[in-house]
Amino acid sequence: MDDAQLKKILQDIDVPEHDINEQKRAVNVAVSEFKAHQQEKEKKSQGSSFLSRLMGRNSQNGRETMEQKSNKKLLQGTAMLVVAGALFAVPFMYENMYETVGEGTTNSTAGGAGGNNFSSIATNISTSGASNPFGNLFKDDQKTTEVAKLNQVELGLTDGSQTRQDQQPASKPAPEMEMAEADMAAVSPAPETSMVEGLVANRAMKAKERKAEGFARHLIAPVPPQDDVHQGYYKDEGRDKFEEFNVNPFKQVSAEPVSTFSVDVDTSSYSFMRRQLNNGQMPSKSAVRVEELINYFDYNYALPEDASQPFKPTVTLMDSPWAEGKQLMQIGIKGFEIDGPQPKSNLVFLLDISGSMNSPDKLPLLKNSLKLLLSKLNDDDTVSIVTYAGHTGVALEPTPVSEKSTIINAMDNLRAGGGTAGAAGIELAYKMAEENFDDEAVNRVILATDGDFNVGISDPKKLEEYVEKKRNTGIFLSVLGFGQGNYNDHIMQSLAQNGNGVAAYIDNLNEARKVLVEEATSSLFPIAKDVKIQVEFNPNAVAEYRLIGYETRHLNREDFNNDKVDAGDIGAGHTVTAIYEIVPTGSSAVSVDPLRYGDAEEKTETATADTDFSNEIAFLKMRYKLPKEDTSTLITTPITTALEGTAGQEQKFATAVAGFAQLLQGGHHLSGDFDYDDVIALAQEGKGEDTFGYRAEFINLVKLTKATNQ
């Protein structure tokens, strides 16, 4: 063999065609690593804590990805699990839906996992009848019920054990493959088709099953260079990004009597955590934001008597269930519900259709979610669709909702994939909103993505500024997150905050219904913006306090009166709950010793002060702006000892959620014997009517977590 021969052999090596999905994945991982690297560089050079708050990132992520990838055998197993897990929620929820449509029952709880309560969607939709184009989608009853049953038989599992299956380690490829196949059979009509339609159009079932098998094999086999590689769904892992924070510590009233924070009505942390727990994973600590878990639920707080005020505070006191000698002070507010005609909406959907959205829990779920939202809108509302990251462009010019079929068509025509164009998707979206701007309407851009923010402005800071600038012109931004693996919670949160909108994480159609239909008025129609809360504690009554959660919403004391400082917004019917844990003076639970020096002077000062305020524990101040105003209004109310023992069922439930969240965070402030059973007991006490079953779902989730940790 001479040089020429060797050269020829080496040059002509038959390198197989590369897998386009692998390329996309690698590029995505690299780009996120790149961005992280840039941020680290920036952080080093600027050292701005504000910036790190907005953009801080777990630098381990990229490395974790590498680690995970390095063990391909394990990965293949996990990939199967991820896909199986992601898909599992889908047929599961459809089962429920079909049961309802087919048999007319309203049995809405179906175990702890992802998709309960689908009955109500199905009923909602199907009862709205002829005026609603979705109604007929669900009328293919007989056949679909059969499909659902078939799925159940193929899976050979009950609802409860499905979740267990999900938690199994990746050691049994055979049953998992069956599961994936069965699931694929249910969702199979290629990623781009709507799931609802796909299920109904079950005539082509056989062919699709074959496709599905091909897909499953594709995942297991060592990726042969096949023509159908494009059919494989995108999978991603370990790049979810959450802002890191430290749990609020106890503070001494003598040293820091005032606590200030911004309200937060986001709920994404709850749904993300639920998804992970249902997959048998414990969520990372930074993924658990106590306030978002608490605020996920609707609480029945008193509404203001006077409509001129958007909300009023409900304050209660109860003994802390997790610490002897401490009390919980809960502040709850509920925004008034919009009566009468719903305000007009001018909505622009800015949709991520990058290759990574090619997954059943992403684009197809997104399409169905939007169709649900559509059902909630009025005929004279307008909707437009702009896509980015795959093919940037206008997918739907502003169209009145009365032309529903046009809108639905446009949604169905959306396809994930294709090269990434850097064109300015976000500018296009705002342009559409501006073109159709209606002073009387709610003008809003709704960004839906799985973490790809390649909307045309690559610098996250600039993007925030842009969104903020547009907010001042009256166009707000909400963000809907999808998928898992590359979920960029971080940017989502800060964008929504800057855009006066909500950030919600949608893991299944049930969540979509909650966020987009049930809460449509609150998510879409703000009744108050820049809502800030400030509590001043009376040092004679309270020795120490700790705000549970809201770590990422902390404001400086002086920010409270500064109307230029942005804060959270409240929509119609939104509830917000904040819980302080307080240690009364003289309690044995005081953690910090009193100062030996310098206390005397303070004593005399407060001595004169407390003649008037002897029964006051604290003083609550809230500021808000009406949606179109720039100056804030102040609400104040003293919190007195008379409130002791006023906590009822709503407060108990909120406390249970707070306890659970703190357990997930490691429970630094919980006494050792407070455990999941205590959470369950508290939640049961506070469960109440629970019309939609969310609280029941929570209790199941706690049970699941308890079982996982045993």
Partner: protein, 180 residues
Amino acid sequence: MDDEDALIKLAQKGDAVAFEQLVNRHYVTMFKMAFKWCGNQNDAEDITQDACIKLARGLDSFKGDCAFTSWLYRLTINAGKDWYKKQNRHTQKAEPDPEALDNVSTNAKSDSKLYAKQVLAAVQDLPDGEKEALLLVMSEGLSHKEAAKALGVKESTVSWRIHEARKKLNAQFEKEQKYG
């Protein structure tokens, strides 16, 4: 190429879109290199992904003193080495392609494709240093000087390693050719 330089400069300044384009543009090059390095698609994909991540963090260190592709080869090869190091911690060396293991002599010459496969397998068994020098020079057509630059070694080292590699390969294949 100017366009490429511009892209690299932009990416080095922190432009994520430019970086993405750059990675997309060179993915196949890196993948091919990785495949030649390890000989199977699965590992090649992993290695290429790792190389892409390395690129994200290491692009700043590209100073333009050699061709970008040469630099990428080195990055990919390094990713390959690291990958195998990590792999060996968990498992023994990846299983060799069974086809390549077949008795070298049978039909080797009549089926040139199979023969090539065997040569490639033999190349993959070479020590890293020899393998990378051989691949860059023989397969990618770099001169010894260019390869030396890309690998960060002396030109004489490249020549020496290629010489050593040739010796080993010849010993393996000459013998069997004689019988063939």
